[in-house]
């Protein structure tokens, strides 16, 4: 951006970047202020509703976070927007339907121990399957294109995304919604203005948080995590230092896929239904979350996912001047566009010269 605007500037216009910078800041403050006032008024008008919607938002945010981390991990290491990631998540939901619903026959009527064991088994199968799927995708569709022009792997990823959702719809699960019964315990924990808060919502959050923490610990402290960060910083240098770059990238894709698989299990057990095109929209929401937090930044992705979860929940659930669920997609994509245009480094990311 800087190079061309400077080349075109007349001396009189030299102050322009500073003025637009200030306008940006004023605009941002106005926007955030308006949002805060809107939330406050909603809170005052119907505090119970506000709180229950917030809890829904946190649950949604937890699922987005698991998917967003996959985008961020992959982008961090090979700078590729893995378009197929949302569809890997969709396959996680489908595997859950097959394993938990069809094979194990879980429908919530079993005893607590059986349900927990079955869900853990499903979680394991889904994580292994999605991890292997994601690694396979990298091996087949991206590895050869690592040195190709930037658009090539992106187009390839779009193709893979189409293949994954096509196989799910035309070959295995059909074009309609499919799902499971309420497997997770649905005891009402407490009641907020007539809206019950169920145990399963809490469980989603309780499962997500340790996963996130262990991932951060793994990337920060283990040998493999360090190799990953080294490859992300400088592929050539880390290869010279004896790091197996291909293996490291494969491991990254496996971890990202496993997270998507876990998200798939949580999603299907929470919402009880899924469809072949789920991956596209939820994937884009999660990608928005990753961008919002600063792509390549793990904490940022989790924070961004929480924000997106809350924003979608407030938009769908609040009653005072909320645009409503018809507009959710537009609102999330508008956020995506605004962030990419005005603050491409996201909430927590470091400004980077080649990103703007």
């Amino acid at each position: 951006m800087t190079a061309d605007s400077r080349a075109e500037q007349k001396p009189v216009l030299a102050a322009l970047p500073r003025i637009t910078g200030q306008l940006n800041r004023i605009f941002t403050i106005l926007l955030l202020g308006g949002l805060a006032i809107w939330l406050l008024i909603n809170f005052i008008k119907a505090p119970d509703q506000f709180l229950s919607v917030t809890l829904v938002g946190i649950t949604q945010g937890a699922i987005y976070a698991l998917v967003a981390l996959g985008y961020t991990l992959v982008y961090g290491i090979i700078e590729l927007i893995n378009f197929a990631h949302g569809d890997v998540f969709m396959w996680g939901t489908m595997i859950t339907v097959t394993v938990a619903g069809t094979r194990l026959g879980l429908d919530g009527s079993q005893s607590g121990l059986v349900t927990a064991g079955g869900l853990l088994l499903t979680l394991f199968v889904a994580m292994v399957f999605c991890g292997a799927l994601n690694t396979g995708i990298e091996f087949v569709a991206y590895r050869r294109l690592r040195n190709a022009p930037r658009l090539a792997p992106l187009i390839s990823a779009i193709g893979v995304s189409f293949i994954l959702s096509g196989v799910a719809s035309a070959q295995f699960y059909g074009f309609n919604y499919t799902g499971v019964d309420d497997i997770m315990p649905t005891h009402v924990l407490f009641d907020l203005g007539g809206v019950p808060y169920r145990l399963k919502s809490l469980l989603v959050v309780l499962i997500t948080i340790p996963v996130l923490l262990s991932l951060v610990w793994w990337v920060r402290n283990t040998r493999q995590g360090k190799a990953m960060r080294a490859v992300a910083q400088d592929t050539e240098a880390s290869r010279m230092m004896g790091i197996d770059v291909n293996r490291t990238i494969s491991v990254t894709f496996a971890v990202a896929g496993a997270l998507a698989g876990a998200a798939g299990v949580l999603y299907v057990t929470y919402y009880t239904q899924t469809r072949f095109d789920l991956g596209f929209q939820l994937g884009l929401f999660a990608f928005t979350a990753a961008v919002l937090g600063g792509i390549g930044n793990l904490t940022g992705a989790a924070l961004g996912a929480l924000c997106i979860g809350l924003i979608t929940a407030y938009n769908d659930g609040l009653s005072w001047h909320a645009p409503g669920s018809d507009w959710t997609q537009s609102i999330v994509f508008t956020i995506l566009i605004l962030i990419l245009v005005f603050r491409p480094e996201g909430l927590l990311g470091e400004p980077e010269a080649d990103r703007a």
Binding site: E79, R144, L154, I158, G159, F280, W327, I337, V341
Partner: protein, 416 residues
Amino acid sequence: MTSRLDHLDRAKLIKLAIGIGFAVLLFFYPSYQQDLVNAVGADNTAAQFVPTVFNMVVICVYVVMAIGLNMVVGYAGLLDLGYVAFYAVGAYVAGWFATQQFSQVTFHFGDVGSTSTVPGIHVSIWLLMVGAAVLAALFGIIIGLPTLRLRGDYLAIVTLGFGEIIPQFVRNADSLHGFNLTNGSFGLSPIDPLGFGTNIPLGITTLPANFLTVSNADTWYYRVGLALVALTIFCSIRIRDSRLGRAWVAIREDEIAAGAMGVPLMRTKTAAYALGALFGGVAGCFYATYKGATFPGDFYLNISIIILCMVVLGGMGNVWGVTLGAIIITYLNFQGLGAIGNNINSGFGIDPHSSLGQHLDPPSNQGIIFGLILVIMMLFRPEGLIPSRRRKIEFEAKAEGVEVDLDDAVSEIDIR
């Protein structure tokens, strides 16, 4: 020396003659389409492979769009995943200004097919096609100005965002503070047909006053579509060889070097967006008129991806390649896949309603087929079926690692 020139001219003449012959064959396609069907045998399932005139019109529409997208993706190297937005603009220009949608007013200007008392705005479709072109180009500039500063893959995501917001807006804008702008998911119909106003005798044929009142409406739409394709190809080639086109190629190959050489980056990229959008608008307006209706369901992301698929398959940056890609994929999409499925079923005696028949059904496996085309082309022939010579060199150079990765170099030097 002179003999060599003669030789060159002869080669050119032969090419030109083949081209003209091909164009004439195409132009008269509707007159011998039925003969082709009869030659195969009308009750033979293989006859389903012969493209109908309806499909030829659709192919024309997609060729125009693919060539428009090629200006953005192929020439300027900017990945646009929301191209269908411009198609939507064109379609809704036709939908607003040639239907009874705004029945509060009654305005007629050069329209055909409705008496002057019919409410709503009715403007001649010929004018609307120009209007759609201008409006789509404006829209391209509006989208482009804030977003074109972004690097390649971020730009792709932003355009994808726009491409998703637009159908949702169209679907929801049936009650904007009580005002029905787009009629929601019911869409707008009927859209006025094309026509020349009065029957104009022209040699052996007559230009009809209203395409819908003649028996061979598809043929007339096909002729107009073919004219649009010819115009688009002509413009596309002329622009490619112009100063602007060369600036696009320079930016695509090396943005920083192009900027340093004095190519105004923003202006040039915005021009690519505007011109690409222009053809999308024209195609949208024409297609909406031909179908007589427009719906928000026409602008889903798949369409953008399918158009991208055409550009990639044919060869990014090569007009003829892209045209070929658009013909192949549109034909497959609208007729070929179904015909293949029916032939497989009848050839092997598979019941189309059985489980096997449904799994093999090519149209429902469309996503897999187009996804495979994208992946396989990228892996094995990224330059496309008919490569642009220049683009091919770029792909090969990058694959061999001849060029330094400029993005890395820049982040180290920090140009700020």
